[in-house]
């Protein structure tokens, strides 16, 4: 299971995600520039999904550019390379909790605190796609609801 909703040593999340990103970039000839690295660190600060404009505000406060493409390009890079994921149901972005291994991610998304737990599941539509001759390229699986903490608070 994921640890988004648990007490856990979050420092290890951050460290392992950053070193996985560095290793992957080195291996593929991609550059984890200061902007991209800082963007990933901002997402890694919590398991909360952040909007592109939230990220942009943080970047601007730290001396990076202030216009939307700055954030969208950095987020796009992270998502393309598997270091972050886009949560479609929130139009928001979250750091990948399983860096390194390529995977088709699925998520438990809390509608109250926007915390996201990344899960590992089988491609759920493969047999249907096969039967219809449909070629799946990417699968979005997001369960929206309330995390344990927000349930208790209700």
């Amino acid at each position: 299971m994921s640890h988004a909703f648990d007490r856990h040593d979050h420092g290890t999340c951050i460290a392992s995600a950053l070193s996985a990103a560095e290793a992957a970039c080195a291996g593929r000839g991609m550059q984890l520039t200061p902007l991209r690295r800082r963007t990933l660190e901002i997402l890694l600060e919590s398991h909360v999904a952040l909007g592109a404009y939230d990220v942009l505000a943080r970047l601007e406060a730290e001396g990076f550019g202030s216009k939307p493409p700055v954030a969208y390009r950095a987020l796009g890079f992270l998502v393309e390379n598997g270091f972050a994921h886009r949560i479609e149901g929130l139009s928001a972005y979250v750091a990948c909790a399983r860096p390194g291994s390529p995977h088709d991610p699925s998520f438990l998304v809390c509608r109250s605190c926007r915390r996201v737990a990344e899960e590992e599941i089988q491609a759920p539509l493969a047999p249907e796609a096969e039967a219809e001759g449909f070629a799946i390229e990417r699968t979005v699986v997001e369960a929206q609801g309330l995390c344990p903490a927000c349930r208790g608070r209700a």
Copy 2:
């Protein structure tokens, strides 16, 4: 299986969806007004997902209001009542292919022609949610890729 990618008698799709919507509205004391009915018919003309502004343009051309809330409210009504679904990955809307029975829908979405096939699957994250104490309220399952026709055309 769904028939979105097949040759099929589309008239029966339209007729059964409209009569299911009429029956459901009558039973629940909701009104399937001309605007709402026409919006549903527009979605039903094909299995293609339409953006809210596409729908709005059609409605305006037919004498309805021209401002976004007109389309968003009609689409919201149809989605809330299960007569249509929102495709998160496209920010678009499609008529429900299984009107009548309440269901947690899942979709095969063609990125080229935007045609959508609605499928029936089990809630895929239930065990994980159970293990973490997460209360699922709604699940988004969308496979994006290429439908048979668009694969051939490539």
